[in-house]
């Protein structure tokens, strides 16, 4: 097997890795920055065959908004789940189950972003994604209204993600 994949440099990656390097070393010293750039370039070049896909972010401002809404959701659902665990929900029966959500998002990075959001939010777990990404199955700890969940996911996360990645 001859390696077929070509190698190339990805500037975004180099930048990100250099940032990472400086963060790790907790410094802004120029020689460290230089070392970081060199190392980042080398790694970017060396591993480019294993990373054939590249994400392109179209609307950076949406990212910030999305991050903010996710953060609030995470905090909210944390407490919601805590209440359930501690048995503080007496007024109704907790009904957990699988929910299928039709998806329009196709970009792999967008889907990955969705996965991160779903996972980071307590109470929802990613179960399955159809091979063509047309359907997403989630397990939801406290399904009160299935359709509400579908709407929630599609509006609050899928749309912004599509705006960012597609």
């Amino acid at each position: 097997m001859k390696p077929r994949a070509p190698r190339r440099l990805s500037w975004g990656l180099i930048g990100w890795l250099t940032f990472l390097w400086l963060l790790l070393n907790q410094t802004l010293a120029p020689e460290q920055a230089l070392l970081g750039v060199v190392a980042a370039a080398a790694l970017s070049w060396a591993f480019s065959p294993l990373r054939p896909l590249h994400a392109t972010i179209h609307n950076p401002q949406v990212v910030v908004a999305l991050l903010f809404s996710v953060l609030t959701d995470v905090i909210r659902s944390n407490f919601a789940v805590a209440r359930i665990v501690l048995g503080l929900v007496h007024d109704r029966k907790i009904h957990s189950g699988f929910v299928e959500i039709p998806l329009e998002l196709r970009d792999p990075h967008g889907l990955a972003g969705l996965a991160m959001i779903v996972t980071a939010t307590p109470g929802t777990v990613w179960v399955d994604l159809a091979p063509d990404a047309s359907r997403l199955t989630l397990h939801i700890l406290d399904v009160q209204d299935e359709q509400a969940w579908i709407r929630w996911i599609k509006n609050r996360y899928e749309k912004p993600l599509m705006r960012i990645f597609e």
């Binding site: 097997m1 001859k2 390696p3 077929r4 994949a5 990656l13 890795l17 990472l20 390097w21 790790l24 070393n25 190392a39 980042a40 790694l43 970017s44 060396a46 591993f47 065959p49 294993l50 990373r51 054939p52 896909l53 792999p108 990075h109 889907l111 990955a112 996965a115 991160m116 990613w126 399955d128 994604l129 091979p131 990404a133």
Partner: protein, 970 residues
């Protein structure tokens, strides 16, 4: 130096003879004969110096501290024996020239014969007891080779082996005896030993020493109870029998007894051991000889018997008996060698040695018949032949010794009875072979042999006659010299003559002759001549030996199966238990806790270990039937270990253990795929009482081991810190080592050598694992795809990637793959971070390398082997090699500065401040990446081969069924 030459010459000759062409009969014989004669001449030339008790000595210090020096010593007895050995040797060589056929590879024969002669001369001329043992064992070895000359014959192999085992065994006994004798006397020097006769006999070790030396001598001289090897050695070519088994080797034992006679004899123990064995042998040999069918066997048993006679004489504790013994040694050598040669001629000319097939040969071979008859007469003790004289002396001494010891009747009776049989078998030998009616269907037509073949035998017979008629003139002075060399001042007065008057011995001789003749007549008439020996023939020594051998091997085999069991569990039990026992006894009840107060328990830590301990125990319980669970539990225990390291301020350890932990889990899982499934509920073995008992035992061992190590740990933990090395390391890490992370400075500088060894271990493991896995053969049921992938079609369809051109996995791994690929460069950057900062903060090459390797492995996990390897090519072996070389280079640079290996050097190259330590750590990094990737990927590749096999299988099935096959791509 002449003495040394006498011994060396035959050995040198042996080497030369070995190099001669295989079948050069004449050349080899002439050469060997010349060597023998040269030795004889050399020995003879020393006669003037050994007369009158003179001794010739050659002394070469060699290992004086151990008392082992080259010391050749020739007294009268030695001179006589040297002459006997060389002269008869020469005759045997001449005889062998004719005896061996054109096809025989004679070079080997003469080579061993000369080597034997050298060894024999070595025994005779040794002045150092250890040196004597050396040559003694050499005669055993060379005789083995000579007996087994016709190694393609089964009898030759069996006989040779028995002779070897018996004589070598005797040799070991002799060695010990001699060692003890030397210890008593303070030297192995015969002169010194001989000078301390009184001291030796009074020493508490005397009995054991005597017994051991006698055992050695008896085994060599084929004396009871070791006599049985000699008849079996008759499978040797006849020249060998004539030489070794009449004249030379078997005489070594009695020679030794005679030589040590002054120190060892004169006690009851000596009499009982030596005389007793001799008497028994005399009778057993004689009786047996009377009933043998093989003419060589007759001679072999007669040899045993005559050596018994000599031994008996030696055991009688009388000086005159000693003289008689020496006299009979010489006489026996002459007539027995001659008889063996005659027997060989008969076999050579007729093609058989079976006495029942032979007969009347005096007509076809009159000369041979004459020679053999005269020799047999000497053997029987017929007057006017030499055998008569020594036998006469033997009778006289048996009477004397009987008087002396109170066995006034037994000893003469034994002597006479032995002689009766001696006459009988001599008569039988001559009568059945040369007289009587001619044998019928002989393999060859008998005729007189070539002169050269008969000559040696005839010469010996002539000697018998001469000595027999004129003893005082011929052998007298020589015998005197020999006896004098042993006895010195104790030399008795005796007279060698044919006629001593009408004495009791003469009477005994008469009884022997008459009795023997009558016995044979009765035996012949009654048709018992061809029967096996009554009673004694029941014991087939060879068979007993072989059976004993087989029993020994089997018993040893059974014992070895227990003593060296191949089962692993007992071995591990032993190791653990012995360690416990060793620790327990070393402590010897002195365990004590140290003086330090306990540090207060952190409940968090205790809770942590509550979890950790539960996990460890869980792993122990689950490991058989729930392997996955056990792996998980082990992993959790590992994490608790990591936290422990972190807790007690060992960040480097925690980092390393953590990365190792991750890789180990993956490794175990990769392995788990190839192990058989099996279940608690279908394992009946679990429930047997034995299994329960075993588990209980192991549980106890485990508990005790745990308690023991905990006790040791506690004892050490409560003792004050011993600050030796660490103070130095802490104080010097920064100023001398140039690093803030002391552990790292130790690893790459103070004790870099350990790290160096450690990466070597990792490299070796990687290449070994790779080599094993390359030829790995999975078990048949594991070749199938895992059940999880077969169970449900929809899941099984989720093969990773159909096409190498695909950029993402198709199925469930699609999204994870995106995320994991995001991680790759990050992980790589972190690995570099750990590598480069290690010297000042936790991290280092090892952690960095493991991070990098794990990052790559994860790509395999989400991408699949085929896809990853179609995109990128990793050469782990090159990484390993480069790593090792980099580390070595980091160490070797120091040499340029004149510093020792692995001394850290600061280099300033183009303004960059670099240290060889970094190069070294880089080497570690490369090795770790290479090794981990090599092992894990080699394991992962095993799954690659199974679909391939599956395809092949399916292909063959398809062709046989002629159906299309659908196959998921692997």
């Amino acid at each position: 130096m002449l003495l040394a030459l006498i011994v060396i010459l035959p050995f040198a000759g042996s080497l030369c003879a070995a190099l001669l062409p295989k079948h050069a009969r004449n050349t080899a014989a002439a050469f060997a004969g010349a060597v023998a004669l040269a030795c004889a001449a050399l020995a003879a030339s020393l006669y003037p110096e050994v007369t009158a008790g003179g001794v010739v000595r050659t002394y070469v210090p060699w290992l004086p501290d151990l008392g082992l020096d080259l010391y050749f010593r020739m007294g009268g007895l030695a001179w006589l024996f040297a002459l006997l050995v060389t002269f008869i040797g020469a005759l045997v060589v001449l005889y062998a020239r004719y005896y061996m056929t054109r096809e025989d590879p004679v070079a080997r024969f003469f080579s061993f014969l000369l080597a034997f002669m050298g060894a024999m001369l070595g025994i005779v001329l040794s002045g150092n007891l250890i040196q004597l043992v050396v040559f003694w064992e050499l005669t055993s070895l060379t005789s083995f080779m000579l007996i087994a000359y016709w190694w393609h014959l089964d009898d030759a192999r069996r006989g040779a082996r028995m002779a070897l085992v018996i004589t070598i065994g005797g040799g070991f006994a002799l060695l010990l005896g001699v060692l003890m004798l030397g210890a008593i006397a303070g030297s192995y020097d015969i002169d010194i030993v001989l000078a301390q006769a009184g001291h030796i006999r009074a020493h508490p070790w005397y009995g054991a020493t005597l017994a051991l030396i006698v055992v050695g001598a008896l085994s060599k001289s084929a004396q009871f109870p070791f006599h049985f090897w000699l008849p079996r050695a008759m499978a040797a070519p006849t020249p060998v029998s004539a030489y070794l088994h009449s004249a030379a080797m078997v005489k070594a034992g009695v020679f030794l007894l005679a030589g040590l006679w002054p120190v060892l004899s004169g006690t009851e123990a000596w009499f009982w051991l030596v005389c007793g064995a001799g008497g028994l042998t005399l009778l057993i040999g004689a009786i047996n000889a009377t009933f043998q069918r093989d003419i060589k066997a007759v001679l072999a048993y007669s040899t045993i018997s005559h050596l018994g006679l000599i031994t008996m004489l030696l055991g009688m504790n009388s000086t005159l008996a000693l003289v008689a013994a020496i006299f009979h040694m010489l006489n026996h050598a002459t007539f027995k060698a001659s008889l063996f040669m005659a027997a060989g001629i008969v076999q050579h000319e007729t093609g058989t040695r079976d006495i029942s097939r032979l007969g009347g040969l005096r007509r076809s071979m009159p000369l041979t018949a004459t020679v053999a008859t005269v020799a047999a007469g000497a053997m029987a003790g017929v007057p006017l032949l030499n055998g008569f004289l020594s036998k006469e002396m033997f009778f006289a001494e048996s009477i004397a010794a009987g008087d002396l010891t109170g066995f006034d009747f037994t000893l003469p009776a034994v002597a006479t009875l032995g002689s009766v049989f001696s006459v009988a078998y001599s008569l039988r030998f001559v009568h059945q072979v040369f007289f009587g009616k001619p044998g019928g269907d002989l393999p060859r037509t008998p005729r007189e042999p070539l002169r050269g073949m008969l000559l040696p035998s005839a010469l010996l017979v002539l000697a018998c006659l001469l000595v027999g008629v004129l003893p005082a003139l011929t052998l007298g002075p020589l015998l005197g010299t020999a006896a004098l060399s042993i006895l010195g001042a104790d030399m008795p007065v005796y007279r060698l003559s044919v006629w001593h008057g009408l004495t009791p011995p003469l009477f005994m001789s008469f009884i022997a002759l008459a009795g023997g003749t009558l016995f044979y007549a009765w035996q012949y008439r009654s048709g018992r001549a061809m029967r096996p020996t009554p009673l004694l023939s029941r014991i087939d020594a060879q068979r007993v030996f072989d059976v004993a051998n087989v029993r020994l091997v089997r018993a040893a085999g059974r014992a070895a199966n227990v003593l060296f069991t191949g089962r692993l569990q007992p071995q591990l039990v032993l190791i653990v238990c012995l360690a416990l026992v060793a620790g327990y006894f070393a402590l010897d009840g002195r365990w004590s806790r140290g003086i330090m107060p306990l540090t207060p328990v952190d409940p968090l830590f205790a809770l942590l270990w509550l979890a950790g301990g539960a996990c460890a125990l869980g792993a122990a319980v689950q490991a058989k039937y729930h392997r996955l669970a056990a792996v998980i539990l082990t992993g959790a225990t590992g994490l608790v270990t990591v936290l422990t390291f972190a807790w007690f301020a060992a960040p480097d350890l925690a980092l390393t253990q953590l990365t190792v932990e991750v890789v180990t889990v993956v490794l175990f899982l990769l392995g788990l795929r190839w192990l058989p499934r099996f279940h608690e509920w279908d394992d009946p073995r679990r429930k047997t009482a034995r299994a329960r008992a075993r588990r209980a035992r192991d549980a106890v061992i485990a508990a005790v081991a745990g308690a023991g190590i905990a006790a040791l740990a506690f004892a050490a933990l409560t003792r004050p810190t011993v600050t030796g090395l660490s103070t130095f390391f802490i104080e010097n890490a920064l100023p001398q080592g140039g690093g803030r992370n002391i552990v790292n400075v130790i690893l790459v500088d103070f004790r870099a050598f350990d790290t160096f060894g450690e990466i070597t271990v990792v490299s070796i493991v990687a290449i070994t694992a790779y080599a094993v896995l390359r030829r790995f053969r999975p078990a048949p049921e594991s070749i199938e795809r895992p059940r999880a992938q077969q169970a449900e079609e929809d899941l099984a369809r989720e093969a990773l990637i159909d096409n190498e051109e695909d950029l993402l996995p198709r199925g469930y791994l699609k999204t994870p793959a995106v995320l994991v690929r995001l991680m790759l460069p990050v992980a790589a950057m972190i690995s570099l971070y750990f590598l480069l900062r290690g010297h000042n903060a936790p991290g280092g090459g090892f952690v960095g390398g493991l991070v990098m390797a794990t990052a790559l492995i994860v790509q395999y996990m989400v991408g699949g082997t085929i896809w990853v390897e179609s995109r990128i090519r990793i050469h782990p072996q090159v990484w390993i090699a480069c790593g090792l070389l980099a580390a070595a280079a980091g160490g070797l640079i120091a040499w340029l500065a004149g510093d020792p290996f692995l001394t850290s050097q600061e280099l300033d190259i183009a303004g960059l401040h670099l240290s060889t330590v970094l190069l070294f750590d880089l080497g570690v990094y490369l090795v770790v990446v290479g090794a981990v990737v090599l092992i894990l990927i080699a394991l992962a590749h095993q799954s690659l081969r199974s679909p391939r096999k599956r395809v092949q299988l399916a292909d063959t099935e398809a062709t046989s069924r002629d159906e299309p096959v659908t196959e998921e791509a692997g």
